[in-house]
Amino acid sequence: MKLTGAQALIKSLEMEGVEVVFGLPGGCILPAYDPLLDSAIRHILVRHEQGAGHMAEGYAHVTGRPGVAMVTSGPAATNLVTPLCDAYMDSVPMVAITGQVSTTAIGTDAFQECDTVGITRSVTKHNELVMSAEELPQVIREAFHIATTGRPGPVLVDVPKDVLQATMEWYWPDTVDLPGYKPTTKGHPRMIREAARLILAAERPVIYAGGGILKARAAESLRALAELTGIHVVTTLMARGAFPDDHPLCLGMPGMHGNATAVTALQRADLLITLGARFDDRVTGKVSAFAPEAKVIHVDIDPAEQGKVRRPDVPIVGDCRQVIDEIVREIANLLATGEVQADTTAWKARVSGWRELYPLAYEPSRAGDALKPQFCLEALRDSVPEDTILVSGVGQHQMWASQYWRFRHPYTWVNSGGLGTMGFSVPAAIGAKVGRPDRMVWAVDGDGCFQMTAQELVTASTERIPIKVAILNNSYLGMVRQWQEMFYDERYSEVYLSPDLPDYVKWAEAMGCIGIRVEEPEEVQPAIDKANQIDDRPVVVEFRVDAREKVYPMVPAGLSNDDIVLPPSQNREYLR
């Protein structure tokens, strides 16, 4: 069967089970958009290529399947750089297809030419420039294989226009040909035994669970390990939902804005059971002062993570789910043969004490005061189905959302962790809703973030993707303001936006959404209820919140986690 390169490309996507492509056509990718008309693949026409990338990420986050973005050459490809880097940092499986000028024009500074593979080399797991139509099925097959196996990540395929127009004899490869790519999934048996022994011997163990748990679909395994051993679990920003917040063993989020108990439990532990986490600086604080008495078991599928930040006592390279299952089996065997787990009662008592003394806290607003953002989030949390997918941008609102939400299920939290991409939430929420149309999807956004990618709400309206957006409008770049207040003597430099400009309600309406403004505490609940009832178009609820509100607790950058700054109503006295 003779096909054009373009037909082969679309057919290859179909063979990979792709059901939706987020994209925007242009000169060089035009040939691929023609066979798309005859395909069952749904195409979502974005308003900016960055939106296509973040939508693909949001889709991948909630479905576990690779998100696909397709855009043209030059400026479209460069607009995709931010989402590619975002997906790379957060290990999100994604395949990006970019048009390229014809092979004969490459290197001539042709119209809309850029060195896409060169530019994206360091922000992709792999990329490939396709030089002939015959290669297309093989390259696409390999792209999906690489994106979804091992440590997942974005893969970019750059396709010149003449390659799309050429004809080729269709085939579908049975295998991938990647002699240099064989991810290890099974943990080393000796290391597994060593880990099991350490776990049973530890008196102050903590499970430090990261995003790898979700990537490996290991939430059930994690729960089995925690419940078998009775060990507390902290879930990093990327792992929120991997272990239910209402589980008695869940300590919540550690890190720069983690709660005092999670932060301190890591600090005082004698064993960190690190599962799919990477000792990010936002978790460790000053590395040399992080968990000084702890031995470390580090499970990660990426060998380069072993010893990158903290030298592990027991490194285990492998798939989190397989390795945890193996550790659980090993522990069960040891217990069955008469081994006894060390007594952790004293430690658990300390942890319970911290939980009691150091809950998350904010001052409720008094009558006439501005709304508290935390109050709005609590109201939202208590008014939506428990499997609601929450998507956030980056900044104060993101930290409050992670802190105050109660995640009960995996894959209900989507955010930009590693790269910290402002503007992530609106397009990512759209992608999430496309992936899980059966779920309610709320984006929590800041006013600064919202202004970066809000135009994708036009996409949402047009394509009838009914997401809901809660803007916590404090008229500032809130996290920057917080740093300027705390670390720059309240010298506020270029951080004020405006409460009224733009008019968010009018803007939402102009984009085909319902817009609701909330200024008083008694308006909060009715607005949320109204938004929850709308299911035929996107809704934007603007909460006018207190600009002076800060995110607590906070570990100032570069300091030890022991120097955690608590809300004004608490002090560190008992955090020992």
């Binding site: 797991k125 420039l129 240099g180 010893g307 990158k308």
Partner: protein, 185 residues
């Protein structure tokens, strides 16, 4: 500072030799080089050519970096899809060779001395001009260093070294490997 600088000096304390087997494909060298560039590590010398199997090339990289950061770069290198195998070669258990080409000033009066020097080192005279000679020398990089140093006295017009290529020695144990397996060690 260029990121693929080729200096001409002997291998110093922190120098490590990596032998990297890669797929013989467009762009692979750029991927490898950019991992070093990204971290500001200077590549001291680099040689690349296809192996006995035309699907693969072998890159010999000499890099000036402490052991701990090298381990991280090596692991990152191994994450590249096109990188098949990485071996760190210990100079004590590997064979190393390099090729030097040099055009040296050689007036008729001292031409004989230059020819004599080349003969002692078992080099070859490739071209003779009225006041200059082009010589070649193949051998261990240390020997090349010595030869180059001696040529300097006569005035070097142009010089090109290939950068070292290396393989592990056959006898004794196989080359010391580091971070080449996907298993943690």
């Amino acid at each position: 500072m260029s990121y693929v600088g080729i200096e001409s000096a002997s291998v110093r304390l922190h120098h490590h030799i990596l032998s990297v087997l890669v797929e013989n494909k467009a762009g692979v060298l750029a991927r490898v080089a950019s991992l070093f560039a990204r971290r500001g590590y200077n590549i001291f010398s680099l040689a690349v050519a296809p192996t006995e199997d035309p699907r693969f090339s072998r890159i010999t990289i000499v890099v000036d970096v402490e052991s701990a950061p090298l381990e991280q770069v090596t692991k990152q290198l191994f994450k590249l899809i096109n990188v098949v195998k990485i071996t760190e070669l210990d100079p004590r258990s590997s064979v190393e060779r390099e090729l030097l080409l040099a055009t040296v000033r050689a007036e008729p009066a001292n031409r004989g001395q230059v020819v004599e020097l080349a003969k002692i080192f078992e080099g070859k005279i490739l071209a003779v001009g009225p006041d200059a000679l082009t010589v070649s020398l193949e051998g261990h990089p240390d020997k090349i260093d010595d030869f180059e140093e001696l040529l300097r006295g006569y005035g070097i017009v142009e010089l090109q070294r290939t950068g070292r290529v290396a393989l592990s020695k056959l006898e004794r144990d196989q080359a010391r490997t580091r971070a080449t397996s996907r298993k943690a060690s």
